[in-house]
């Protein structure tokens, strides 16, 4: 396929779509599938057949539309009219949509989400622009919305240096957590000497509760492939690997199909778009270890070795897969590439704050009215996210803290609700932007308990290579257990704080180095809550069962040391 054929494909598909009187988009992403969207689309198709509307109306299985807690979601598209989004669609409602909205142009009022809802209005969709709009299994649908035009443009009009320079100018930073400038990273790999180079997409996404990358892969797989191909051209690689977390079978399957479809049309493989550029992509499936999201462990896993980090330097840009220069970026980072090439770096850097450009996808979870997936411009305040987009905290409870960055991040208390969400501001508060998990907690959450949860996660996910992370997290977890069950002393708190510093400073990889963050940040803002657990043996939030007492106090005459994991007996009332 060449450029002209690509344009023809886009045009033919647009005409095909416009021929329908109405298109019913039904979300087929994991959250909606699990709330029953398959039955919904079946019901719609049946109703259309029954009404003899098959030829005029099309049912499309799309990717994620956003407000996942309100699923299954259906969008009704009619030419010349605003899209209408329905929430909580059952097969019955689906039939009604066909009967009333499609046939009589009268929306079924109860389930319609208002178009001016802050959830939609406050978002800015760049990476997720196609998500919920196209059928991820149809290459034509992507091409009709400008797909692969950026790759075609880069191959024909730009040198690899220019591609890197464009990204540097756009201010795009890595979305996988650390926020390293993407253009600079690409340029490093481009300049690295090597007869062979690799491009890797990190779709391991291990943060509990986060599903930004899964959504991107499920909803718009070709966008990711296009970004990787542009990367391959820019750095001089002809092989890409897409590392997908093992728990994401739908994403892996859609990506594999997308790769085959793109190869058949000459958009990947040999002589991409009839140029001299060759680029193949293979999918590699992870086996469920958080640490394999760390880039050096991920590469070890791709090479078939035990997924353990190795010390850097050398960085992957010098010596990566099989010792060759390797570019590794997050899935969302690759998703931002095509729009930057098409719209120019100035357009992208016009969005966001001084040092954090563009948009960021967040997975909203916790004690909020609407959970789901959002894409917002950098610099939006936490307050806008919590109270406008997520529609606040239900049942009249008060906001307590927002947790960003998952097990590597921290908690942000209410006095900082007006902080702009960008790399620098969140870092200054002791949290991190992270990959995009955002959990809102109300006054019923105990911060020591939250910290314990994350330490337990890191303890279970530690690879075991280095001593401070392997054993330090276990000891930290024990101390937090004591604090949350009432058997801790102030000495324990001191030991915990010392361990936080040790594990942070001496661990080999980011997992261990960041593991203490949830403890450090909750101690910074909620110290009195920890102290109440120890001094008054009381959990202010009422979340912890305080049913044990310190071992020393069991027998006041002779000091008994808590050793060998011995637990004190429950306090006698």
């Amino acid at each position: 396929m060449n450029r002209v054929e690509l344009q023809n494909m886009a045009q033919a598909e647009t005409e095909r779509q416009n021929a329908f009187r109405c298109r019913l988009l039904c979300c087929a992403s994991t959250p909606c599938l699990s709330s029953g969207s398959t039955a919904v689309s079946e019901a719609m198709k049946q109703a259309l057949t029954d009404g003899n509307l098959d030829a005029e109306v099309e049912v499309v299985a799309t990717g994620c539309m956003g407000p996942c807690s309100r699923g299954p979601l259906v969008t009704v598209k009619m030419p010349g009219q605003e899209d209408v989004v329905y929430e909580k669609v059952t097969p019955e409602v689906a039939k009604e949509i066909v009967a009333k909205h499609v046939t009589q142009s009268k929306p079924v009022s109860e389930n319609v989400l208002p178009a001016d809802m802050p959830f939609f209005v406050k978002q800015k969709k760049v990476v997720l622009a196609n998500s919920g709009q196209i059928d991820p299994e149809r290459l034509e649908d992507y091409v009709a919305r400008g797909g692969y035009a950026a790759l075609a443009h880069a191959l024909r009009e730009m040198t690899p240096e220019e591609v890197c320079a464009t990204l540097t100018k756009s201010g795009l930073r890595g979305r996988g957590g650390a926020g390293y400038p993407t253009g600079i990273k690409w340029d490093l790999v481009r300049k690295s000497e090597g007869d062979k180079k690799y491009v890797v997409a990190n779709g391991d996404e291990g943060d509990p509760g986060a599903y930004m990358d899964r959504t991107m892969m499920e909803s718009d797989p070709h966008r990711l492939l296009e970004g990787m191909a542009i990367a391959g051209y820019a750095v001089g690689a002809d092989q890409g690997y897409l590392y997908v977390r093992g728990e994401y079978p739908i994403a892996a399957q859609r990506l594999q199909r997308a790769i085959r479809a793109a190869e058949r049309r000459g958009l990947l493989g040999s002589r991409v778009l009839e140029s001299n550029f060759n680029f193949r992509i293979d999918v590699r499936i992870g086996a469920g270890a958080f640490v394999c999201g760390e880039e050096t462990a991920l590469m070890a896993s791709i090479m078939g070795r035990r997924g353990q980090p190795v010390p850097r330097p050398p960085y992957p840009s010098e010596r990566g897969l099989w010792g060759k220069p390797t570019l590794i970026n997050n899935v969302e980072t690759y998703g931002s590439i095509a729009p930057i090439i098409l719209n120019g770096p100035e357009w992208f850097s016009g969005i966001g704050t001084e040092k954090s450009k563009g948009t960021k996808i967040f997975a909203l979870a916790g004690n909020i009215d609407t959970t789901g997936l959002i894409e917002v411009p950098m610099g939006i305040t936490l307050r806008e996210i919590v109270y406008d987009i997520a529609n606040g905290i239900p049942d009249g409870y008060a906001f307590k803290a927002a947790q960003t960055g998952g097990p590597s991040g921290g908690c942000i208390p209410s006095q900082f609700l007006d902080t702009p969400v960008d790399y620098e501001s969140l870092g200054a508060l002791g949290s991190i932007m992270g990959s995009g998990g955002l959990v809102v907690m109300d006054e019923r959450s105990c911060m020591a308990d939250v910290a314990k949860y994350f330490i337990e996660f890191c303890m279970d996910e530690s690879c075991g290579k280095c001593v401070p992370c392997r054993v330090g997290t276990v000891q930290m977890h024990r101390l937090l257990e004591r604090i949350t069950d009432g058997s801790a002393t102030f000495e324990d708190l001191e030991t915990l704080e010392e361990l936080c510093v040790l594990v942070r400073d001496t661990s080999l990889c980011g997992l261990g180095q960041n593991a203490p963050n949830p403890v450090i940040s909750t101690l910074r803002y909620f110290r009195e809550e920890y102290e109440a657990h120890i001094k008054e043996r009381r959990c202010p939030a009422g979340a912890c069962e305080m049913n044990r007492i310190p071992v020393q106090e069991l027998n006041t005459n002779s000091r008994v040391y808590s050793q060998n994991g011995a637990q004190a007996e429950p306090a006698q009332a």
Binding site: P311, D460, S462, V467, T506
Partner: protein, 239 residues
């Protein structure tokens, strides 16, 4: 190889470009605590004892996996580092069952030596007392997981020097364990050449020669009866 100049503990020194900081420090006679490092094997930076401070960086660096660089300013024994080293050793002692008094390696153990040298005289953390087995299936050697510190010297020597790759790791985090073959009894491993290299490089009493472990010493009192019978009755039984 070009020479590089750097500062170590406020003294100007020179090293070969490409060499690891740890090897230079050793050449300089600076005693660096190490456990997973062993000269002749690849370095992995796992035990974190050889960490040093580099001026201009907030991070600490494991000397074994850090190449020397022109202009580096290195500190090897600051109070902070010494303190971290003690804590790491405490964590190791708390992790498994390191009871020196009943260990074959008592007095020749690198973990014990490091504890003594670094002033680690007590453990403030909970002993985790995991319930770990021993593998005595091999005709010549014994593996006691209770003493293993997961340094992977055995894994590396078997792979890199003997070329047999009998050893590897399974599990993760604190549940990691060295395994022979595909997690089978060591004695059943077809690839083990019985060379004993792993036993010789193991820093602790985790890998030992059969017959030398605690409780394996058998005393024979029979000689007494034999001598007395011989002397008293002039009957010397040489059968």
């Amino acid at each position: 190889m070009p020479v590089v100049t750097l500062t170590v503990n406020d003294e100007l020194v020179s090293g070969q470009s490409g060499q690891s900081l740890l090897s230079l420090l050793k050449e300089l006679g600076i005693e660096m605590p190490t456990l997973c490092h062993l000269e002749g094997l690849s370095d992995r930076g796992g035990c974190r004892l050889c960490m040093v401070e580099l001026q201009g960086s907030k991070r600490l660096f494991a000397a074994c996996v850090t190449p020397v660089q022109e202009g580096m300013v290195v500190y090897t024994h600051t109070e902070r580092l010494n303190n971290y080293r003690r804590m790491i050793l405490e964590l190791l002692f708390a992790e498994r069952n390191h009871v020196c008094a009943v260990c074959v390696q008592n007095g020749h153990c690198e973990l014990q030596t490091q504890a003594a040298k670094n002033g680690m005289d007590s453990v403030r953390y909970d002993y985790l007392v995991p319930d770990l087995p021993m593998d005595a299936s091999h005709e010549r050697y014994v593996l006691d997981h209770n003493r293993c510190i997961l340094c992977t010297r055995c894994v590396r020597v078997c792979d890199e020097i003997e070329g047999a790759h009998v050893w590897d790791l399974m599990g993760r985090g604190v549940n990691s364990r060295v395994i022979a073959g595909l997690n089978q009894p060591w004695g059943d491993s077809d690839s083990c050449t019985k060379c004993g290299k792993c036993v010789q490089v193991c820093p602790t009493g985790a890998l030992t020669l059969r017959g030398s472990t605690v409780a394996e010493m058998e005393k024979q009192h029979d000689f007494l009866k034999w001598i007395l019978t011989g002397r008293e009755k002039k009957q010397w039984d040489y059968s």
